[in-house]
């Protein structure tokens, strides 16, 4: 092995790792002892590796992330498994979903703020039951709206009468890609199996997601949640809940 070959191999060497155990790496390291120029290069290579690694390791982890993961998992544990026939329906829905996803893959514009991404993110966060997303709790929608006002958020939501009449669970004002989002959680009672039936309404400025649906609601399954999305005035709405299209339609009239 000459110095040039040794340098090529040692370019992949990471100080402090188990890389030195590799026989080719070990042979290249032996070459370092014989060649002062190679040794100088190797010393610099290790220093640069260590400096870059230190920079990447310095990226701060959000302080609340660990709690969100653990709480989300605990909530998920309470989800009741679906019975057999529902699984068949789910498989059929998956085929439809797959077809839709393929369509979206080839038709979605190359932007970070696509509506599909916003809707999926919101629905997935609910699916994981991220309780920390709920920043205030109240059974009164007026309290939730007051919370939005206190946080300099809009409250002129164009919600259906059916949604306005439901008791609240709570709400949250947060951001998505640095854009404000308001989330209103509503209590729709329990379903036939006794499972709690919460509805989540996410509100976003329509300018942020220009490819959002229009006034007529569009339905889309995200994981185990059905979503309905529409735009009224300057706001785009995403309603997410367990159930099917017909279940959600009841709240949109």
């Amino acid at each position: 092995m000459d110095s040039r070959q040794a340098r090529e191999i040692l370019a992949l060497y990471r100080p402090g790792s188990a890389d030195a155990a590799d026989p080719r790496m070990a042979e290249a390291l032996d070459q370092v002892k014989l060649d002062p120029e190679l040794a100088a290069w190797f010393q610099e290579h290790c220093a640069v590796y260590t400096a870059i690694r230190a920079k990447l390791k310095a990226v701060p982890v959000p302080p609340g992330l660990k709690r969100e993961i653990i709480v989300g998992r605990a909530d998920h544990a309470r989800i009741i498994p679906l019975p057999g026939p529902a699984k068949i329906l789910l498989a059929a829905a998956a085929v439809v979903l797959l077809t839709t996803l393929v369509w979206f893959t080839f038709n979605t514009p190359p932007s970070e703020n696509t509506f599909a991404r916003f809707r999926d993110r919101m629905a997935r966060s609910v699916q994981r039951s991220n309780v920390p997303y709920m920043k205030m709790y109240s059974t009164n929608q007026t309290d939730v709206l007051a919370y939005f006002t206190a946080n300099q958020r809009p409250t002129d939501f164009a919600l259906s009468k059916a949604l306005q009449q439901l008791p609240a669970e709570g709400g949250s004002a947060f951001t998505w890609n640095n854009h404000p989002v308001e989330m209103l959680c509503l209590n729709a009672g329990t379903d036939a199996s006794g499972q709690r039936n919460d509805l989540w309404v996410f509100v976003m400025d329509k300018k942020v997601v220009p490819d959002a649906p229009g006034a007529s609601p569009q339905f889309f399954q995200v994981g185990n949640l059905m979503t309905a999305s529409w735009t009224v005035g300057d706001k785009t709405y995403v309603l997410a809940a367990r159930g099917n299209t017909e279940d959600l339609k009841k709240y949109l009239d």
Partner: protein, 183 residues
Amino acid sequence: MHDGRMPDGLDFEGLVSRYYGPLYQFAYSLAGTEADASDLTQQTFYIWATKGHQLRDSAKVKTWLFTTLHREFLNMRRRVVRFPHHELSEMDHELPTISPAMVNSLDAAKVVKLLGEVAEPYQAALTLFYLEDCSYKEIAEILGIPLGTVQSRISRGMAQLQQLILDTAPPSAGTSRKEETRG
């Protein structure tokens, strides 16, 4: 629901404590935003909680988590944009010589941003190379590519990253050895 208990006594919370930081940093290096990185990290543990019991070899937990996060990242990106295919000439992966001072002149966010500018096929391998104490074999398993391809992607990615650092670092941050030897 998967208990998530490992032979070394780690329950789900212990598993999260051990891996959520490295997973987040891996996700951040790939996705470039806190929101996406947090979402990818949460989604990875969510999948672990529902499917982790299928993993037979507990020694592979770390690889499994990183593989899952990377797969979720690719799924997320596919919905937004199809990446152009980058092909570099052989000469492109000759390492530019930079100094530690050049790296240290940049803050962590800038280095992550530059990592995000490296051609997409090389990013994940390069991130694991720098961030994680994974063997090359483990990186190959995480990314689902042959060992030789891992090494090639790291070499090329490293060359791109170091060139980006060379182009970005202030001149006062230090000279490259090429320049030194020229003098």
